[in-house]
Symmetry: C2
Subunit: 159 residues, 2 copies
């Protein structure tokens, strides 16, 4: 999860919502990803998707059956679905996502026995560090917006 947090920090450094993920196979990281939605202007470029795609390339197969995925935030439906499709064995996530989480919050898609594959779920791994990264990011954005608004009002008063 430390490697996933390092990925999340890379996202924050370029102004992306800080979420990071890694895929592990036989104790080795075979795929890394961090959120690149704004940079790429592509709605599918979440950390988990990028990490899964990298792992598929590295292992030369779409079947990541013996792999674990570590992600700093509870996955959204797209990323949970990608884990099911890639047959990831276990998903370890950090903070829960009250807005889009489907590994226990709104649904538990990963462990739904009606799909042809189930991904075991372990949540709350380094949850405080994951949540703090997100909170700090949004605090900074709000502060910047407030400063920009105040600067705008000052300019209006001067006109």
């Amino acid at each position: 999860m430390e490697a996933a947090l390092a990925e999340a920090r890379k996202a924050a450094a370029i102004g992306e919502v800080p979420i990071g993920a890694v895929v592990v196979h036989d104790g080795q990281i075979v795929g890394r990803g961090h959120n690149l939605r704004e940079t790429s202007q592509d709605a599918t470029q979440h950390a988990e998707i990028i990490a899964i795609q990298a792992a598929c390339r590295k292992l030369g197969t779409w079947r990541l059956e013996d792999c674990q995925l570590f992600v700093t935030l509870e996955p959204c439906p797209m990323c949970a679905g990608a884990m099911i499709n890639a047959r990831i064995a276990t998903c370890y996530f950090g903070a829960t996502d009250p807005k889009a989480g489907v590994a226990g919050t709104f649904y538990n898609l990963l462990e739904d026995s009606r799909f042809n594959h189930q991904v075991a779920v372990v949540g709350g791994i380094k949850a405080a560090a994951s949540a703090e990264l997100l909170q700090s990011f949004f605090r900074t954005i709000r502060a910047k917006r407030k400063a920009a608004k105040q600067a705008g009002q000052t300019r209006e008063n001067q006109v």
Copy 2:
């Protein structure tokens, strides 16, 4: 949906499960995709993901707010999640998917009001043509497997 069916036929022609999708904006197709899971050995390469990525590139934004997505088969969780993330307005699908469908079969993720965006769902568009493409594909695969098995038995008898 005819364009999505044409994409599905492209998949069948290269031995992929025949599923196709297109994204439409202002009456124009801005993204096309067909299932490439085996060819790419990448679990994320479903028709809808490829079509959404193409549409994001074409329109230069991850927000496909005024777009419709046409897909020959009811979407899986990954693809439904990608539509929510991309803020697709409406999803028109062909055949229902009794194994992984989440636009009404197991769930209706697309219209779940707890997510920050809802995608309107219209199912059953040219459903018979979509289903026939899939059934024909699997019939051919079964026939090939049977022929291969019989050929193997014949060789065994000759030894």
